[in-house]
Assembly symmetry: C2
Homo-oligomer: 450 residues x 2
Amino acid sequence: MGAPPGYRPSAWVHLLHQLPRADFQLRPVPSGFAPQEQEYQQALLLVAALAGLGLGLSLIFIAVYLIRFCCCRPPEPPGAKSPPPGGGCVTWSCIAALLVGCAGIGIGFYGNSETSDGVSQLSSALLHANHTLSAIDHLVLETVERLGEAVRTELTSLEEVLAQRTELVAAARGARQQAEAVTQQLQGLAFWRGVPLSPLQVAEDVSFVEEYRWLAYVLLLLLELLVCLFTLLGLAKQSKWLVIVMAVMSLLVLVLSWGSMGLEAATAVGLSDFCSSPDTYILNLTEEETGLDSDILNYYFLCNQAVSNPFQQRLTLSQRALANIHSQLQGLEREAVPQFPDAQKPLLSLEETLNVTEGNFHQLVALLHCRGLHKDYGAALRGLCEDALEGLLLLLLFSLLSAGALATALCSLPRAWALFPPSDDYDDTDDDDPFNPQESKRFVQWQSSI
Amino acid sequence: MGAPPGYRPSAWVHLLHQLPRADFQLRPVPSGFAPQEQEYQQALLLVAALAGLGLGLSLIFIAVYLIRFCCCRPPEPPGAKSPPPGGGCVTWSCIAALLVGCAGIGIGFYGNSETSDGVSQLSSALLHANHTLSAIDHLVLETVERLGEAVRTELTSLEEVLAQRTELVAAARGARQQAEAVTQQLQGLAFWRGVPLSPLQVAEDVSFVEEYRWLAYVLLLLLELLVCLFTLLGLAKQSKWLVIVMAVMSLLVLVLSWGSMGLEAATAVGLSDFCSSPDTYILNLTEEETGLDSDILNYYFLCNQAVSNPFQQRLTLSQRALANIHSQLQGLEREAVPQFPDAQKPLLSLEETLNVTEGNFHQLVALLHCRGLHKDYGAALRGLCEDALEGLLLLLLFSLLSAGALATALCSLPRAWALFPPSDDYDDTDDDDPFNPQESKRFVQWQSSI
């Protein structure tokens, strides 16, 4: 029974990973994750540039539409003051577009929180891994110090007590040698000591960046929500200046939406390449950053039955040495204590130290086993490649919906605006009822009464 | 260094836990989680009954409002056919209520997915714990079988080869005794064997219930969304039959909302009591269900430095016995192989078995350590008490918003309906523009032209 099933690339990862990539000369680029290579960087930039192209096209479309609307209006029949037909349709399409934008904002809030969840899962896994690594260091240090102290004090006084009988002194010397061997073996187990890469630092950096990303999206979402609501208010109250201000704001948010869409698309594509086979990349990167042996890294990152525990030898040797110390101490207790009662105190103290060391040793075996650290690795990958990627795709959907909705609104707003009554007395009418044709009836009654 | 910081009750848990509870005689009930006690059950039922009270009050309020509206209308001045004043206000308030309902539905979807996330975290933690427990069983079984096989075949053939020299046979017998001691100690480590409680079964049950809960909420949310959208459509198209059908549906959804609110409130209160100090309850429950020693359960559920490893003694004894077997085999290799070359093959095979057993032993130490299982326990608690509780509170907010919105809509709908034109020719007008008073102008122009 190996480790429980860990991370598996999701369908989204496969789908995004299979999209074709090209560099600036439009030559195909392999979709393996290689952020240091220029072609790959160019492929991601090209994905982001697609959003720029979309922005340009939608701006051109809006401009052409509005120019055509302003300059190529069909000549009105003289004397007919009725508004152009289809006015209701224009306003309704504007409202529908803004409602789609609002639904997109809801999706955006959900996606933003999902991404944030995924990244916080990543950083909590890093924190947990850091805890395990520092616990190994701490435990090794504590055990080595405790053993060294026992060797310096109790074993020395034991040797002094037993100085008269050389074979007992030899047994004590044997225990000393075994204890020194254990110390040496244990020190080799603190594999993360002096490694320049700190998971804690990485987790803090990730959280820092994520905090600002989250805040930026919340601000963008709130801005778009305000634009949608105030545009609706402007339409409802037929306030020309509000509609004009909101049209300008819509243009700004449209640019921001396309910009965020470019970033999201490039990140999602890069993330899918990373997530389709993360092990190799992470292994190479960690080997470069930490300078650790590849068998240690393989053990923790793969953690299957094909990879043997690189600490097995050291653990077995320490275990045997500890058992030897125990049998030597037992022999001494049997032989020496009846003759030298003074030997009892250091012997009991040594046995207690041995018990504590054996307990620490078991804890160390548990900490060093790949299970715990590999589970953190799996949790980090799941956070990044499942939750964060899903959130990113939802944010992409939000950007797409809001870009479409804002472009439609920008096309419709000036037409709806043109339908507003030209005089000021219709501005800020408070009691307009959207669904009440009684309004017109009342008007007729008022007309016929005068 | 103990386990990393695990589950801590959140602020919501503290807040809900501090609410006063009372039984049916309104005597105060302590807020410790005790689902088997009648007073506590009564307290939870009383919380759920509060929602029933709310439903009753809101139904009475709606009924009184509508009766007052129908029967106590101010007498219209004769000849004046204008609608009662404030008609626009009524329709607008109905629309605003429905929009609040839609926002509530968005919150409901988010809460439902959050609850589902929390519960799936709980069941994946249970699955992981099940994997660890069955891995311990499996590993113990495998190791014991392998050792038994080695004792039966290799050690027996070794004893036969060495039969001429009794002191070597005695060493082989010693190794056999130690191997049997290891077997015995290891068998005591498979503590979950024969335990009637299966985390896998619990996880499957939890997932099964959660699947239906999730589906029921999605259906409720979709029903309410449809009611909101069709009511808006009915208002926009001034379709009387649609408004009537939707008013009846609103009444149904209002009842469902209050019902779900009662369930959510009782569950949230009960969950907060459980989550404020889960250890004691879970410890007692698991002790009852499994019949395991309390020191084993304490070790896994608390996993701090105050609780010692209950397997420490067995592990140390096994470790010492393994080291003794190793030194006896080494002695035999030194002494016997030069004289009896036939002894080499079983000795090498025995040493290999010993190496594998030591590897398995280290894996077993890692699996038995409280770290892994306690981490699963923490993840399960976090899933239930953080994500699921938060989701439940969001669902509560949804129920509250939708109950308020539907009650307002139910009060406003008949008033808005009364404002609809009485004849059929206004039904299904397609081109009504909510924000276009040009409609009335056009009407006036048409009037003056005839």
